[in-house]
Assembly symmetry: C2
Homo-oligomer: 699 residues x 2
């Protein structure tokens, strides 16, 4: 079969993913919704989440319209091809749609999960996991379908229209598609940052007044911020993450395709990543069937069940890619297969390392818990220290993956083949995203189910089951984050290499020497940007949380009978406050990602821009791991104490651990995960604006 023959798998599999997601969504909707109280709570969360997304998409639309006009102007000036502004819109639309669908299903699933948990732990798991799977499959289905549609269109278009100067058809197609993920990335950044600010402002605000000051439990219905907290899980961890991984998925595929041309692999090199993604979808769907367990399963067994799904898919993928690459690229390019395997393996190792540093079964988190005995300061120092320590192995593993994939793909003799190897190792890591995202997106649903059970006053054994599901979700979420960060680093490198190829295509050779002072200055600026970005987002969370704190305190004081459970708090007001704050706060950090590379390119030149991208990738990668793992570890240290260690709930140690957890909230759910998007968006912006920057640069 020719490579174009295999390509038919791409639309088929992406549509299959969507159909299967639809089937799962319908089966969730058929589940028991629980009692009236549960329905009422779920409705409040759903409405809050919708209201947030509506407002967010409205705000983002404005940005998209402005950018569309700018890109249109650039197209008329011949800085970009005419498709770019339109692809910018479609990319943003589908990225947003992925988040929206995931969130809609998640908000329908939380009360159903709680209701199912009344029956058994396993029933709860099934509903929550299905919701996660809808999200995972929607993201990969829409992502791949979007790319395929554009590929077919461009292939048709360039068959009947003149090609751009100095380009053959496949170069024209990939060079246009490379710019397509800018829309998805922009939306992802807004979704991650805005959602991240919302969720953590609500969470921190609710905890600070509720848990710490008033001493009422988490998710207590008397806490006015409790609905906002639950809304936050959905808009941040579900909608934000969906948009984010949509972008990762699309970005890694287009970067690889573009480098495939430079590597001289022709159409086959371009289609391989897409076909691999298609096969990955099948592997993911098969994997979901592995996720089942006995009715009386322990938590360990549940984790094993989820793992079976992920590992099963990975093994299927590892085997299938071997034949795919052999058939499409031919036996002389089997090195590419080993690059894919290096990526898959690196992803798995990073997952294991993340678990080691964040799970309370291991030394680091136990150490943080122990430090809580000497107060909050030592908890903070210990958590930062664990997070910083946890960057070492992932960096070495990614480093090994880079070298392995470069040299295995033939980099020693052909530089561009090596770069193709690095990029495709990222695709390998992300190919089973359908199922890894499912295990990841299941977490917030379980978290919300717990909130629903608590607020509806369900019996303690139900809350205990939802807690078990939630705790499992923390582990998978941490693993998923490690995975997302690792793939982001590889994808960013692919995009940086593609940026260089793009500049070469435009007829300029850059002096990429590390001792080129312009590049060096770019490296410094790039190394600083993730810090600046985190500062902005953390400060935004602090500010927004402060507003929530004031509001919750006000309601506690002013609403008579609230603490006695006789009066209802004004949930909606907290949601409105968090929404408004998130919208306002997300603008500046998001603009940074777009403005910084362009401005650096214009003022200090393309080489500085290249340095900026590399510097930001390196420091962003390290900082993202540190923040994710510090945050995860603090969270689990707190849970470990709540299980009865070091004095248990209510002890001084517990109070100290809550401080750690609160600091960790913006680390792991706002700033950390947004860094992934930041480094990729900057690379894509550099690519899209390359021609423009070249023509106006002062250097």
């Amino acid at each position: 079969m020719s490579s174009s023959g295999f390509f038919i798998l791409t639309p088929i599999c992406s549509i299959a993913a969507l159909v299967f997601a639809l089937y799962l969504a319908f089966s969730i909707m058929r589940e028991d919704e629980g009692n009236d109280k549960m329905k009422e709570i779920a409705l409040a969360v759903r409405l809050g989440a919708r209201a947030y997304l509506k407002r967010q998409y409205l705000g983002v639309s404005l940005f998209f319209i402005v950018m569309f006009i700018i890109l249109l102007w650039m197209a008329f000036k011949n800085y970009v091809v005419i498709f770019v502004p339109f692809a910018f819109l479609t990319g943003g639309f589908f990225s947003g749609l992925s988040g929206f669908i995931g969130m809609s299903v998640a908000t329908q699933s939380s009360n159903r999960t709680a209701a199912a948990a009344m029956k058994s732990l396993n029933s709860g798991l099934r509903v929550a996991f299905s919701s996660g799977a809808v999200m995972g499959l929607t993201v990969v289905g829409l992502g791949l379908l979007h790319l395929t549609a554009w590929y077919y269109f461009l292939d048709w278009f360039y068959s009947g229209h003149p090609l751009p100067a100095n380009m053959d058809k496949i170069t024209a197609i990939t060079s246009a598609m490379l710019t397509f993920s800018m829309g998805a990335s922009s939306l992802a950044l807004f979704a991650r940052v805005g959602g991240g600010i919302f969720t953590k402002a609500a969470d921190v605000g609710a905890d600070l007044v509720g848990k710490v000051e008033a001493g009422i439990p988490e998710d207590d219905p008397r806490n006015p911020a409790v609905i906002a907290d639950n809304v936050g899980d959905n808009v941040g961890d579900v909608a934000g993450m969906g948009a984010d991984l949509f972008e990762s998925y699309v970005g890694s595929i287009v970067a690889t395709s573009a480098l495939g041309v430079a590597a001289g692999l022709g159409v086959a090199g371009v289609t391989v990543p897409m076909v691999m993604a298609a096969v990955g979808i099948v592997a993911s769907i098969i994997g979901t069937f592995f996720v089942s367990t006995k009715e009386d399963a322990t938590q360990q067994a549940l984790l094993a069940a989820l793992r079976k799904g992920v590992w099963g898919s990975s093994i299927i993928m590892a085997i299938a890619s071997y034949f795919l690459i052999r058939w499409i690229l031919g036996v002389e390019h089997m090195g590419v297969y080993w690059s894919v395997l290096a990526g898959l393996l690196a992803g798995v190792i990073i997952g294991v390392v993340t678990e080691y540093y964040t799970s309370s079964n291991f030394k680091p988190t136990k150490y943080i818990a122990e430090q809580s005995l000497t107060g909050p300061a030592t908890v903070i120092i210990a958590g930062l220290s664990v997070g910083m320590m946890s960057t070492a192995i992932p960096v070495l593993v990614v480093g090994a993956a880079i070298l392995a994939s470069y040299f295995l793909a033939g980099g020693a003799t052909n530089f561009n083949s090596g770069l193709y190897g690095i990029a495709i190792s990222g695709v390998g890591m992300l190919s089973t995203l359908g199922i890894t995202l499912a295990t990841d997106a299941y977490g917030p649903v379980a978290d919300n189910a717990g909130g629903n059970a608590e607020m509806a006053g369900l019996p303690p054994e139900v809350r205990k089951r939802t807690d078990a599901l939630d705790s499992l979700g923390n582990t998978t979420a941490a693993t998923g984050k490690g995975f997302a960060i690792g793939s982001a680093a590889l994808t960013a490198l692919g995009l940086i290499a593609a940026f260089n190829s793009q500049v070469v295509l435009l007829g300029k050779t850059m002096n990429l020497s590390l001792l080129n002072p312009n590049l060096l200055v770019g490296l410094f600026i790039g190394g600083m940007l993730p810090f600046l970005f985190c500062s902005m987002t953390m400060r935004a969370v602090g500010r927004a949380a402060g507003l929530i704190v004031v509001e919750v305190r006000r309601q506690f004081k002013e609403i008579a009978g609230l603490m006695q459970g006789k009066a209802k708090p004004d949930y909606a007001r907290c949601v409105t406050i968090a929404t408004a704050a998130a919208q306002k706060e997300m603008v500046l950090p998001s603009l940074l990602a777009i403005v910084a590379p362009i401005l650096t390119g214009v003022l200090i030149g393309l080489e500085a821009e290249m340095g900026l991208l590399a510097g930001a990738t390196v420091s962003g990668f390290v900082l993202a791991i540190m923040m994710a793992n510090s945050g995860g570890s603090w969270d689990n240290a707190k849970k470990y104490i709540e299980e009865g260690h070091h004095g248990g709930k209510g002890s001084q140690a517990h109070k100290a651990a809550v401080v750690g957890d609160t600091v960790g909230d913006p680390f792991k759910d706002t700033s950390g995960p947004s860094l992934n998007v930041l480094i990729k968006l900057m690379s894509i912006v550099a690519i899209v604006f390359a021609s423009f920057v070249m023509s106006v640069s002062l250097f």
Copy 2:
């Protein structure tokens, strides 16, 4: 006058610095020592500090012996010239001696400062500042004298002995001298890390139990860790800082000299940085005479007095360098002068920015103080956010200084001239170190004077005066740190460039392209190392502080009548515990700096090592600024609350702010300042071991 004529200034000025320091030391010794109680306390601190340094130098000697043998072996194998092992010893010796002298004077000055403060604020300032000046002038005097002696020796030696292959005399001299700062750097790292761990373990331990748990004031004589805390200020902030800046000073000069040869400036290019340093000494000595104020001076006036000294020296230096460079290098190389000026200016701007972010007169620190109203978690988030934000301008300023000094020195036509420009801008920044270090080293003396006054039960107005001096010291310390970090970045770049020249001299051309995967992997590893290093050092502080906490609690519980002031605590035991812990904990992080570049070079090649150095410089620079400024800002936010804002001392807000301050302690006094040394030591290790790594590298 020929360039060698000017060179005679170097020994003259360095000896002048030492003579003047001696004069100042004698005049301090003539001051009133205070009452018996004060003398007794000062003696306890002095003995503790000496005991610590003795034990530290003993431990470090072991390391020096091992390294000496290794270097000797390398010299016999022709990997380095025969002088390297000996210069390694002398460098380490003089670096340690600088720290020792500074500390001896400081521990003699604290009670004398307290006694003088009984008379007036101004008298207190004069004694404390004189002590700082002894330190500053000793560092620059010994540093320059050491270099000069070696220069004369090598010049004499190579006049009568055969030159190494492919080298003329001046190349042989500079290439040997380039390796000389390894001894100083190694000692500096041990001093910074060991001293930093000691001081912060004692401080954190004392505060956690004393201030937070028992509710007794800072420096209360009932606190068993209070002497250890005061010892810590001397071994960390004085001895550690002295060794550190000795190293910066020497490192920046030798890197510039080495690049002077590559830039084709001959002997003149080599001697200019040394002669500039000599003139900087004169400028610093003159500057010390500007530091005086009226007897009834306000704190603002005191700060103005210190500033007058620093600014005066800088202006003298700016004028003198113009003529120096014109006479030595000639009118055609005046670009070098503008590079020097760029460095001086960048240093000043970084100082101003640091003050903005860390002083409670400005918004950022006030913002942190305000966040204390919602508890410790928001204080931590706010402080981290301020620290991260504060990295932006220094990075841009250093970036601008790099570009300006590169292009002004003629980088556009001659690459090596440009690199020389970057390196000499670092020398410009450090040329007035004599006085900037004086204002910096004055801080711990004032801090100790406060401790002495508190423990000796002096009247409140004396304590108020020492507090004013201490608070002023915080501002100058923060400014000094910004300065040290900025110069470290420029020096590290100079050393990296010198590493490249060295490899070229050895006959190998590196592929320094940013897209070289080996270099890229090195960049990732380098970007991670500062995080790993900070993790190790912060964890060490946490562990050591934990031991102190346990001991203080034990003494509170077991020593009857202690809290009533009827029994004396066992101060010595806390000193012994902190000493032992610091010695144990400093080994691993220090070895990291030596092992990481060598191992990376051997396993992934010289290009990866180059990437490692660049990555570590970028992320180390950013992280160091962040940690220094977060720490400084937390400290001052706490002080701001203690002045009566947001509820003042004893309020919930104050407790929250103390948590921030405690987290900030290892940030600003252990991990942050050690990073400066780390990045430079790694570069020097790379240079010294270049030939060895080349011959055994796997790549």
